[in-house]
Symmetry: C2
Subunit: 437 residues, 2 copies
């Protein structure tokens, strides 16, 4: 099981790409390496690398490669996200996709072609680096595809599939053919609407079918912490739950699951509770079969000198902005030390599974299946009840796959349960946060 | 009378700020200086200088200062536009004003404060340069304030006034108190909707009342060339007309008028006609009283390697993208040579003036006065008829000011004419271009 952090540069946040300083990156990486982690995830800003549709700046690519190399010098592997896109409430969309040039990111043919060119050139530049963990298409790009994004680039599920096929293909073409789930990986990162919002065109199948493993990002400001309290089971097990839920759509029982983002947002997790929240979260997540690893959000606090971030964003770092290890950082380092030698998926998978009714008795897809999975939803509640009663979150099996005895056997599932009667949906009214990650 | 060019970097267009090369700038400036011009107008990209609301990058400011100094080394004065904002169909708005952070540029108090801070810091950095011609708030920012901008930041006329007062005040505070119309100047640049579109909140009064002189940008793709042909009087006199029209709102008879942008757009002016269009335009503009100068758009063609520009944008340069002087450049240099020693406003002003009925007989403002001024409008047609009959475009006097005998005397107006009967509006149906400048 791998441990890493999402790298948020201490000086200038991601705007530091504009004032690229290898020594500043090195200072950050040195601190990150001191946590005992094996990797970082890094985030170029798309408009800076590709300011015109047909201009991919060599110097921007060179800076990214240098960050990969600096990380290597500290023994860190690197995952590069291509299309940012979105970071901590801020969108970075090139001017050739805005205003008079507004075109749908996921649909316009020349945009798809040019985006794929960027993804390919970026991948090509880092592909030979021995410490390349992989390339993620971009950070939670599915948020751009639907509400509540203020200016969505609406795509259908089919268009989402086509776009993912183009982009994953572009990365894979440059990475070469490697055994599944061996670095360098190509991965797809989505925010949790993929599993919780039936209207979101990028869905659980996309997470399961595209890229080399299934990626989840767990943020308890989505209602989980509001409903269950900062240290309640529904919060502390949220990452575990989301990983189990996501695994239900995997076609391959051995497909790995990467908890690529998880953090302790102070709007719902008080600072004093954050280390315990972190520890519970990681212990529960480590209990999930086929766990590739955990990448914490994030390395460094955002400087208070920078304006307009949602309040919680200033306090997500394992280090303060000036490099002091925080209590969460200490706890994280202890856990990394403890788990460092645990093998991915080494634990026995939970033998029991809860059936998610994705289709009805006639085999017709259920319209609001994702809603039932969201915090407060009937399925979500049932899973938590089951976890509380057994001490471990169950696996999730889709009704549409429950008859696949081979798959269930491969997953180590020997008992299946239906959602028991008497569990009701808890209605939540959470203002949609401006923040994804 | 001063001559200059709007500086469009030959390598990488304005994205070259991301790969700032003093020697590349010097090579461009050397060619520009060979035209005999005395100044350039330069365009920082706002999101690169102020990527976060409270982060104004010192290195970006330093690059701008260096461009001013490089220009000085070639004997060129420099006008710096602050808020881009918009250039050649592309918008550059910082991420802290987009999507989840969308706030009205002209109205939100903290945005106004932070924008003023940027304008002030930029001005402060260049204020001491002896070759500073001035600071323009930003390029045609009024386009953001209303339709047809795809995502307008709607402002009322009053809000526009308040915003201009804040920004002009910010620049002036750093430039210090200088005699009116002496460099360094603070100026306000608007696209022609200010005079032609009654719905545009930034209007003719703003052009006349804010900044040290009145600025006009003349683009005949606005209907003038479609209606009158590339070399027709309505095209060749469009800049002259717009300057005369803008002067009608000046409170000070001696206020200078700067034709800060004018170009030969090939969508309506064929390449073969462009030199003649350029010559006619400049000769007519030079015939306007109080003409501060003409700044041609632009120095260099946009490279064909860059995508998505409207077709006309690739061919507006006086030099090709690789630095070859074009026929328009040759003609421009000849005219600069001819006019170089003409003093600003040295010519006798036209003695006759056409009355623009901005108020009715009861003194009530006329609702569609600006529409009547646009190409094809009744006033516009009458002005052209008058110019054709006398060989020189008349001045324009507002009905609301026609009784101000002192003003008329100061303007040298001895005859006033009403729009004659029999002149009708010509309806034009011009698709609004994505391009302003």
């Amino acid at each position: 099981m791998r441990f890493g952090v999402n790298y948020t540069p201490s000086a200038g946040w991601f705007h530091s790409w504009l004032d690229f300083s290898p020594s500043a990156v090195a200072a950050d990486m040195e601190r990150i390496a001191s946590l005992g982690v094996d990797h970082v995830r890094i985030f170029p800003l798309w408009p800076l690398v590709q300011p015109n549709r047909t201009l991919i700046r060599p110097s921007a690519i060179a800076d990214i490669v240098q960050v990969v190399d600096i990380a290597a010098s500290f023994g860190l592997d690197v995952n590069v996200d291509a299309l940012q896109g979105h970071l901590s409430s801020f969108d970075f969309i090139p001017s050739w996709l805005e205003s008079w040039h507004r075109r749908n990111i996921f649909v316009a043919p020349e945009v798809i072609t040019s985006t794929a060119t960027y993804v390919r050139e970026l991948t090509s530049a880092v592909a030979s680096r021995p410490n390349l963990l992989g390339v993620t298409l971009g950070n939670e790009l599915n948020q751009f595809a639907h509400d509540p994004h203020p200016t969505p680039h609406r795509a259908t599920e089919k268009q989402a599939s086509a776009w993912l096929a183009s982009m994953v293909g572009a990365v894979r073409a440059e990475l070469g053919s490697t055994p599944a789930a061996r670095a360098p990986l190509v991965t797809v990162a989505q925010y949790d609407a993929a599993w919780y919002d039936d209207a979101q065109p990028f869905g659980p199948e996309h997470a399961a079918d595209y890229g080399d493993l299934t990626v989840t990002h767990s943020w308890v400001f989505n209602g989980a912490a509001q409903l269950h309290g900062p240290l309640g089971e529904g919060s502390a097990r949220h990452a575990e739950y989301l990983m189990q839920l996501a695994a239900a759509w995997n076609r391959d029982a051995n497909r790995l699951n990467w908890l690529q983002e998880v953090g302790a947002p102070t709007n719902v997790v008080p600072v004093k509770d954050a280390p315990e929240f972190l520890e519970k979260t990681i212990r529960h997540a480590a209990d999930v079969q086929n766990n590739f690893g955990v990448t914490w959000w994030c390395s460094h606090d955002v400087s208070r000198k920078l304006a307009d971030f949602p309040e919680l964003e200033y306090d997500l770092g394992l280090f303060t902005n000036d490099g002091v290890l925080k209590p969460t950082g200490e706890r994280f380092a202890e856990l990394v030390h403890e788990f460092r030698n645990a093998k991915a998926g080494a634990g026995t998978p939970p033998r029991d599974a809860l059936i998610l009714e994705d289709v009805d008795a006639a085999g017709v897809p259920v319209a609001d299946v994702r809603k039932s999975c969201a915090p407060g939803g009937r399925f979500s509640q049932a899973w938590l009840h089951h976890a509380a009663s057994t001490g471990r979150g169950p696996q999730v099996v889709l009704r549409s796959k429950v008859a696949d005895a081979l798959l269930l056997a491969a997953r180590g599932i020997t008992e299946v349960h239906v959602v028991p009667a008497g569990i009701d949906r808890i209605e939540l009214s959470i203002a949609h946060p401006a923040t994804h990650h």
